[in-house]
Symmetry: C2
Subunit: 351 residues, 2 copies
DNA sequence: TGTAAAAATGTAAGCGCTTACATTTTTACA
DNA sequence: TGTAAAAATGTAAGCGCTTACATTTTTACA
């Protein structure tokens, strides 16, 4: 059924083309697409037929420009290499899709400057809102976001005192709880392998959590040896060896995440140490790797998928002006597996 | 230094504002941004100062609409839950970023219909090009892409006979090589745990590879027992138990990917079987999990990061009309670890 | 210094939508 | 059936850029 106004088959049809073949105005076509109940069933059918006939789909650049809203949400995460972010992002994307939103992704590689650049980029690309990891970033970035009226949600961290909306968990208390488990078993000398803390509040908070537990247990700062490194199995191994190569090595090594912890476990076994008989090791995140490690990891379980899901819902509510309290604190749980035990009895005569 | 034409501080500055405060035309500002060497150094400085002063950044919706190009590339992958895609995507994004492109992400959950929908969505959102996983999809989808002139690159698979540009590897031959390793060790009865093959050409190709090796070794179809399931550790375990619960169980179980294989290994140990003494198990992908499994996995190493990287380069070249041969076949390598050994000698008197 | 060509800049239309406001059609009810 | 109000539809401006073409300025060289 060729219309006289059929298009050359290699042209992308526009809304105007649809209007012409349906015999209505462009406004009506637009309404069919965006405000379907302002339109008669009869015109709706006509328009939909035209759309099908032409294979029309709207140009979002134009739509965004005209409407001042893109239905696109940006996420800037440190890296998809870590399953915890990849999983969270997956859930986030699924939830966005349910709500007709699309996901723009960028990664910062844990670099403050790069993150700032990515925030600018995704904003310019029209992200209506942003998912960001952790609170730490220059004040000017927050000011920029406010000026541009871009809602930004903080995930993977939760600070009830912050003005930012967030969906996350209390890194400090979570790690404190785990440290308490460690100390309860009698460890008095701890090692800690952390991510670089300079621009990573979550890493800092986790360390603070350990220190909190230490203080409560009446131990000294000196009883905690900290190494900072980048997240990777390899680096976990190296750091572990370094921690253990002192006169009185720690009896338990806590790690800032599971990836580091797996590296530590590997190195321990390689050094001929039994885990946990000779040394205890703990992780954080509870990724799949954790239960698969040579010795299954005692760690903190973080509900990453739920976090991604809630983050998406919260952001969409914010955009829709459903201004309920969008802050969500998710609980974490301690996951006791095999890598945590009592300290070895190094000197049975002088326990 | 307030200009008379300063903006209300809560308005997002536009290119026209920049032009006004720099005292040039909008065309000139646009050139400074997009064709910098068509512009005097003096005007460049003036414009850049104005941009800084106003905190201007371009509106990409408008730019895209006017230029007919978004510098946005879409990727539709089955899921970020699997590290292999997450990693590849990470590398892909990094490479795009180097070239000033942004990444739109959608996931299909291995569902054909959902993938088709996502292709439509990302296209409408203005993706200049698409990264797709595998070849299998309805012909109409390819036709749609051609009509819209959206280059689509196929990754994670490689078929020299296909018209589509692709950056991937030969799933069939890769799995065949691994199967040959298995058969060489004397296994005569194989189990295979596959992803659902209905809309997954990579899964099908891998099975074909095993069959190729089987035929070459003079074995029968009956010597290969196949179960299809969704990718997950859990499902790997279940499928493994099922495969082993027959009168004459296989002596080696090959798996469509590492995730399934890890599940199989777990179940084997749970069933009291020694790996590889009682049963051999193999994977595919060589994700981190593979070397961390309770028994380190013999598997096929796939260079996922390089694949993501090359895919990005190839797509960008295509968009820039650098029409060299954009097809890249990457080599895979067999990774022999601990889960593969000779078959158990069930009946020593009748070997 | 004058002139032609090249380089830099400006003018203005147009990309494909949305939406405020205006107009027409339908509905509800006397 | 006539009328006012409500619902549906249409008109046209405008979102913020890019770029073809026109104009002005600079450069190269006699």
């Amino acid at each position: 059924m060729d219309e006289p106004n059929d298009l050359p088959s290699d042209m992308v049809p526009t809304l105007a083309d649809v209007a012409r073949t349906a015999g209505v105005s462009t406004a009506t076509v637009s309404r069919c697409l965006n405000l379907p109940d302002q339109v008669t069933e009869k015109t709706m059918t006509r328009v939909m037929n035209a759309i099908d006939q032409l294979g029309y789909s709207p140009n979002y650049s134009a739509r965004s420009l005209a409407a001042g809203r893109t239905n696109t949400i940006g996420a800037i995460i440190p890296t998809m290499d870590n399953a915890i972010f990849a999983r969270g992002l997956q859930a986030f994307q699924e939830e966005l899709h349910k709500n007709g939103c699309t996901l723009l992704v960028a990664s910062s590689s844990y670099e403050e400057d790069l993150e700032e650049e990515q925030i600018k980029t995704l904003t310019a690309r029209g992200a209506d809102a942003l998912l960001l990891i952790g609170y730490h970033r220059p004040k000017r970035v927050y000011e920029f976001l406010v000026k541009r009226r871009i809602p930004a949600l903080i995930a993977w961290a939760y600070d009830p005192n912050s003005a930012q909306i967030s969906v996350g968990f209390d890194n400090r208390n979570a790690m404190k709880s785990l440290a308490q488990e460690v100390l309860r078993r009698g460890h008095k000398k701890l090692g800690y392998i952390s991510a670089h803390t300079a621009s990573n509040d979550r890493a800092r908070d986790r360390i603070s959590g350990v220190k909190d537990a230490l203080v409560e247990a009446g131990l000294e700062q000196d009883d905690l040896q900290i190494i900072e490194t980048n997240y990777s199995i390899e680096n976990g191994s190296t750091a572990f060896r370094e921690l253990m190569s002192v006169d009185i090595p720690p009896t338990a090594v806590m790690c800032g995440n599971d990836v580091l912890a797996v590296g530590a476990v590997r190195m321990a076994l390689e050094m001929g140490l039994r885990v946990p008989e000779d040394v205890s090791i703990t992780g954080f995140d509870d990724i799949e790797l954790a239960s698969m490690a040579p010795v299954p990891l005692t760690t903190v379980h973080v509900p990453h998928r739920r976090m991604g899901q809630f983050a998406a819902q919260s952001l969409i509510n914010t955009l829709d002006n459903q201004l309920q309290n969008q802050n969500v604190e998710l609980p974490t749980t301690i996951c006791i597996r095999k890598t945590l035990g009592p300290p070895p009895n190094r000197d049975p005569w002088n326990p």
